[in-house]
Structures are given as structure tokens and as C-alpha cells.
Amino acid sequence: MPTKIEPTTDTITIRLLHFAMNREMLGCAEERMTLPAGSAAADAWAQLVARAPKLAKGSRSQMVAINSRYATLDQPLQDGDELAFIPPVSGG
């Protein structure tokens, strides 16, 4: 398990949303996560995979959304951001 990081001015807290197979593997639809300031989506994903290793299989097919917009893995997160990993979509 990753070390729990206490909120300080050097940390950010984000809202994470989980959907579809991700939600089922993680066992929840929504959570808060505290990360070191300057963290990106990739850092949050690493924490999720550490907790639910089955997620790793889908790593290469996830898209990233920050505040309801497609984003890149390396975009720095801001405190209060809403982050979601988007497994392959199948709407329509």
C-alpha cells in the first residue's frame, strides 16, 4: 500500500470518479485522493493500480479526463480537480 499523505500546503486533494469496469474493480464510484503538489493523472493511476492490480491490464487503453474534459496524463493536477480515467467507451 502506498504511504498515506497528510494534506498540507504541499499537497492537493482531488475528486476521483470511477466508471464501468474500473468502478467494479475498485469497488467504488467516487473517492477523494490526496497527492503531492505537482502530481499528474499518471500518479493517481499508479496509486489505483497499486490498490487494484487487475486495473493494470487496462492501463494502455485508459483515457484521462480532468474536470469533464479530455486531458493528458502528464497535465499537473490542481487542488479540487475532478479526475476520471475513461476505459474504452461503448456508448451508442
Partner: protein
Amino acid sequence: MVHVKITEEVITAAALASRVRSDADGAIVSFEGVVRDNNAGKGVSYLEYEAYAEMAEREMAIIGSEAMREYGATNVAIVHRVGRMEIGEVSIAIAVAAPHRREAFAACAYTIDAVKERVPVWKKEQYADGGQWLGSQAEDKGNPALAVLSAEC
């Protein structure tokens, strides 16, 4: 004008057609995606759809704007239903109005293609012997950076 919605209610293209028409339009093309009783021959009992609703509505609005700008549609309406749906129920309804039919057909086909490609909605097929999220078998095409990362964990 673009109208979009994610809803748990029953949807129909008919309810959208009157929304999109203006007096200069000669053509309305509608698409309904319907729950089929099979997928590649395997029997389907029912479907469950899940959406990242806020983002899905935003993406559908962008797609509708593209259909207007790039394909000449006058107005576009897109509604996607979520929750459990039985065989024959409509999961997505799209209506597009345009002055002429070619624009309306092209814009409607573009819209459903784009929705399937990038709107955050997921479908779980339920069979007699279990269920499966579609797209989970999709070929890798995403973020190589994540693969490296996860390999480290």
C-alpha cells in the same frame, strides 16, 4: 442549436424531430440505437448503460457543433439513455435537420460515429450466464505512458 441529454427515461427520436426543424429545412434524419437480442451471435438478455453524465453531455454538445459546422446541419439533438434497457428499447436517439438530405444524412452518421468513439458511456451486456463490459476487449490504443507506469507498480 444543439440539444443534448443523458437521461434514465425512455427516449425516442420522434421527440427530437420537432426540436431540430426550422422553416428553411427540407430534411430530418434520425438515428435510434436499439438493444439487440444478440452480439455477434451470442444471446443478450438485456443491457446496462453507465455514463459520466456531465462529461458525456459536454462531449455530445461538441459533436453536435461539429456536425453543424462541418456537415451543414441546422440543428442537432442527441439524447443517450442510461440504466437497464431491454431488447428493443432505444439507448440513443439522434435527430438532425438540414436544408437538404445529403447534409442531414452525413451529419447524422458523423454524430453517431463520433458519439461511439469518444463520449464517456459504457455498455454492459448481460447474458444468461453473466455480464461483460463492452470495450474491455478493445485493442490497446491508449496511453503508453500508463503502461510503463503500471509496470512499475
